[in-house]
Structure formats: C-alpha cells, structure tokens
Symmetry: C2
Subunit: 343 residues, 2 copies
DNA sequence: ATGCTCGCTTGGAACGATCAAGCGATGGAG
DNA sequence: CTCCATCGCTTGATCGTTCCAAGCGAGCAT
C-alpha cells in the first residue's frame, strides 16, 4: 500500500513508496539497501535512482524492531567530578563517537541517576534501547562487569578487570606503568638521578600501576626509590604539599606524578620557592590535559592514545555483535610522552 | 500470543506476556504503563505486579515505530579543536544529558563526518532516529538553522540567531556582554581605572558581544576605552603578545579577555615581566575552564550557567515536541563571576 | 519435449507496541 | 421499563521493516 496521492509530503517516504516508483516489490528495495549483490545490475540502478529521488532512508524504528538491534552503544557519563580524569574523558568520547560512527553505530549518553549506578544500564538493557555498552568507570574494580555479564549484555570495558583475572569480557586499556616508565626514563636520560613519585593511595589499582612504572625504571638503573614516594589525594593542594615535603626531606631533582593535577601542585611548589620548572627541578604529569598544554612553559605529560583505544573498543564491539559473536582478548596500549618545558 | 512454553528466557518479556500473567489484555497493560489513571485500582496493582515479576520494560523500537517518536535528542559534537571553547562544551553536555534524562530523553551523539556539517543531521532526520536536535555551533551565523527549519525538524539552539533576527526557532544563550560587564565592574570596584580588552576579530558575533560589556561598563563611568582594546586569534600566544603590547603602549592595570585562553596569555606576560597577577596587574578570563581553576593563584573568570542553559533547552524541546507544539521565545541567561587570585 | 536447477522476484507473516473502535455491565434519567 | 451515557476493559488494525517460503521465467541437460 502506498501513500494517498494527495497527501502532503510531511511523512517521510517508505520502502513501499520507493518500490512503487521503481516498479518493483518492497523486498527488492530492501535487498537493494541491505544486499545489493542479490540484484541484477540494471534493477539495482533503477531502485537506487528511486531512493535518491524520494530521499528515502530506512525507518530506524521499524528496522530495529524487526532485526532486534538498535545500532546504538550506551555510554554512561560518570558523575561529574570537577577535575579528576575528566580531561581524558572528553577526548575519549570524541574519538569513540567518531570511530563508532564510521562503523555504523551511534553513541547514546546516559547517567546513572543518583546512587545506583546500575539503574541506567538496567533500563536501557531491558527496553532493548542499545545493542551494547562501553564501560569506563572500572577504576575501583567494576561491579557493572559482573552485573552485565550475568544479564548477557554485550559490553567492552575501557580499563582492565584488575580484581578479576578470570573476567571474560573484552577490554582495552592503556599501560600506565609503561607511561610512567617512559616518563622516568626521559628524566634519567636528562641526567636526573633522584626522581620522586607523587601518586594516589594504595586502593587505587590505576595508581599502583602507574607507580610501578616509576619504580621499575629506577630499579633497573640501580637507583633508590625509598623515601622518594608519596601517596595523596588527587588534588592540586595535595600535590603541592607532598612536593614541598619531598623537596625538604629527600632533595629530588625531578617529580613524576600520577596525574596532571598533582603535577600542577608540584609546579606551584616550585613557583613558591622560586625554582624554575624544567631547569632547576623537572616535573611530569599524566593525561596530557588542557592544563598541561597551556600552563607556562608547558607541562610534560604522559598522553594516552585515546584515539586508538576508541578504535580497539569499537572493533571489539563489532566482534561481540557479529554472528556468531567473537570475544576478543584484552588489549593493552602504550602511551606516549608529550614533552614540554617542565622537563 | 505468548511465548512458547519451553522457550529459554533469553528473549525479554513482551506486553503480551505481562497481559497473560495478569489475566488482562495487551491494551490494558499498555494503559497501565502509559495512562495508569484509566485503570481500576485493583487491576492496576495486578498488572504492576506482573510487570515487576517478569521484569518487563516496553520495547523501545516497537514503541518508537508506533508513536513515531524516539525520545532521542541529537547533539553534534563539533570537530575537535584542541582547546577553544571546548572546556565549556564538556560541562554543557553533562548538564544536558542529566536534564534530558529526567525528562525521559536520551542524548545521541554524532559527528558530521568530514566537510559537510549537514550530512549527519540529514541522515538522522530522514531515518527518524531522533525527535529533535540541539544545535550548538552557532558562532558564525548558523546555516543549519535555516536548513533544519526548511525540513521542519524540531531543534533548539544554544546560541542566539545573531544574523537573523526573524528566526523563529527557540534558542537559549548566555549574555556574554553581561558577563564581561560584570568582570569589568568587579575590576572597577577594586579601584582599577585603566582596564584593557583582549578579544577576537570582528567577524565573531560572540566576540563582539563580549567586547560590548567591557566598553559599556567603562563608558558608564566615563572611563576611556580607546587604545585599550586588541583583537587577536584565540591562542595563548596571541594573548601573550597582545598583552605585552598593551602594557607597553597603554599601561593598563587590568585585563578583561574574551576567553580563558587569552587570559592565560596575559598571565604568561605578567610572569615574563615579574609582575604578580592580582596584585600588580589583574586579569579576568571567560568560561571558567579547568585551566582557570588550577593555574597558580587561580584565574578569575566569567562562568556560564550551563546547568541552567541545559534546563531551559530541555524545556524548550519539550515544548516543541508537545501536542500541540509550543515554540518558546529566546532566552538569555546571565553568567556569574568566579573570583580567584588573578583579580 | 520434459524435467530440473538457478536466479531473481513476490506476497504474506512476523517484530511489539499504540490507536481506534467496540462491547458488556452498570447506573441514572425519563 | 426503556434508553443512553459512562466506565473498564477487549479486539482488530496498523506503524515500516525484514524474514520466509513460494512463484516464475529462463537456461540447460537429458
């Protein structure tokens, strides 16, 4: 059945409209869109012309209903913390949207309204609104992972399953230790021998990982680490205090930090004491945030390859959603070092 | 028709399943979900129990197909520019996701792949994937606005229709002039009399708007503006150079800038010359980016009420999508001043 | 000439929800 | 007692697409 002739063109054209115009059946139009190789060349051209002429595009809802797929990927926005790790997030979302767009997927943002972080997932999952999730907040173990697996919801994690080596879901992560090792080596090459670490408390997996790179690099050269490490909250203030104490008690000539925030604290301390960053004392941060780029003289920082992370995540997602599904193994990517004036 | 008895529970429950369990018809279940007031109290309870027991949630695709609505709002991510105005964007997206979530809408991100910024809109529109758009990149006029209107696509703009006073679409914007006026007054109250402006080139509507607030505040007190204004690119380097020249030629005691980026340039110049920000020379930025918050002593900055912007935008969207549609007039919100050490 | 396969096309039936009309029971008014 | 409106729920049709199985003409071998 086609549109009533005198109908206003408010309604978008349907498959049937295209079929009528091209003089073929609905199924043929559907094949022209989804399996063009099934059609004879001349028929295909005719149908494509009709599609072009009407400006037809398949109705997403109808297609989703029939195929039980939405081509949407759910991404939960972490509760907004004014500064921590957020810098990287923005870049990551950008990359993810672009990469998944090329693969025919769109990104659906949502928030876990209030206390229960699973509420948002549950709703989208049960209403079959998304095909899969990208889970990013895996910094403290990840309760979602077990929950999602239990519900057989396809998902890929940005972040290792730290506390669960047996986890079977695909994941992509950045090798934080490799990043801080890179940073520490860079300082060693510049002649520094007393290199301090300012990081997070022990219960942070990511923090422990990043710290490991620093100590590994030093130990490899037979240099000391004891007395040169500090564990604090991820605030500028903490970084500032920690660096002041370390300077007094251990006289390091350089700092490697678990975040740009902490590194900014170091820069503040240097300024307090009239020390020139990069000349008197060096400092390196982590995440290559906007701050690192615009601060005076620039802050050397470990940069996560978020574009590559997004590519790998989308790739893993395509695997999960393929027929039959393919579960990729975890992938660990190596960060780079953005060298600026502070080192 | 219900599920085949022996079927595995892989398939989510449908309306029909709930209906069977509750001993009512499909339509009654539908009403229980969408128009509960139509049911007798005891029936409603019975249906709700069945819904609860099965963990039922309406299938989005089916509902979308029937109601011709997706409850999705399209938001185009601007092509990533490493720093400009991006800071605010992140905060805005957060607020938008949260606010629209409360109104029952989700945010769908997409990118205009490549050159044609309209391609992404067109695709989503024709496939009826989204109900409406939020348009943010209206800084240089907005070609999308005319295009979307022509296609009768509902949309709300974050940003005034500068070049088209006759535009009929709803919009929400922040009064940039009020913000810079606030900043300038703040400096005047501190005793400054020679206050310089560093802004963008004339072809930027937003830049002109922000500049107007500075000159208005000065003229109101009978203070001079000539020779105190500079127009440059939005980079730190430009801000640094412009402020150096202004200091030499016009001896201002304070700067108001069109962006945090430019203000950072000012801070760099002050540091170059051994001047203390906030004590010797004051500086104020715009956007209250992360940088403003973490730079040493802090950078005073005009803060856009992005949470309120999001609320108003969602409100206008709800109007557009209501039956009958309601087209709200444009809304102009007033920013606040985040006072820090630089002033 | 017959039968069979092959390649493309065709009508019918889902997918799971909502809309519009219908229908029996109840109750108040005439 | 009849009529009709109202209430509360049920029934059939429909949204636009893809899947399924059948149709059908042409080509080829027997």
């Amino acid at each position: 059945m086609s549109r009533i002739p005198g109908r206003v063109p408010t309604q978008p054209p349907t498959l049937a409209d295209v079929a009528e115009l091209a003089g073929v059946s609905r199924q043929t139009v559907s094949n022209a869109v989804n399996n063009p190789e099934l059609l004879r060349a001349d028929t295909l051209v005719r149908v494509q012309e009709a599609i072009e002429e009407l400006g037809y595009s398949p109705n997403r809802a109808a297609r989703n209903l029939r195929t039980r797929a939405s081509h949407l990927i759910g991404l939960r926005m972490n509760p907004r913390q004014e500064f921590t790790a957020n810098a990287a997030m923005d870049r990551f979302v950008h990359s993810l949207v672009e990469t998944s767009g090329e693969a025919g997927y769109h990104v659906l943002l949502f928030t876990g309204a209030g206390a229960d972080p699973l509420a948002g997932y549950d709703d989208l999952l049960r209403s079959t609104a998304v095909d899969a999730f990208v889970v990013t907040d895996t910094y403290l173990g990840n309760p979602q992972a077990a929950w999602l697996r239990e519900r057989r919801a396809p998902f890929v994690a940005f972040g290792r399953p730290w506390d669960d080596a047996e986890a079977t879901h695909p994941w992509v992560d950045v090798d934080g230790a490799a990043g801080t090792e890179l940073a520490t080596r860079h300082l060693l090459d510049k002649g520094h021998e007393r290199i301090a670490w300012i990081g997070w408390r022990k219960d942070s997996w990511i923090g422990q990982d990043r710290r490991a790179g620093w100590s590994r690099a030093l130990k490899q050269r037979g240099l000391p680490t004891s007395g040169l490490a500090s564990r604090v909250e991820d605030t500028i203030c903490s970084g500032r205090e920690a660096s002041a104490i370390l300077l007094d008690e251990a006289q390091p000539s350089a700092f490697v930090c678990a975040s740009d925030t902490l590194a900014m604290g170091v820069l503040h301390t240097l300024a307090d004491r009239g020390l020139r960053p990069g000349e008197d004392v060096a400092g390196i941060g982590f995440d290559d945030s906007q701050v690192a780029q615009v601060v005076r003289h620039g802050l050397t920082s470990v940069r996560q390859p978020l574009e590559d992370v997004a590519i790998q995540i989308v790739n893993a997602l395509e695997g999960l959603l393929a027929h039959p599904p393919r579960v990729d193994p975890g992938i660990l990517l190596t960060p780079t070092l953005a060298v600026r004036g502070s080192s």
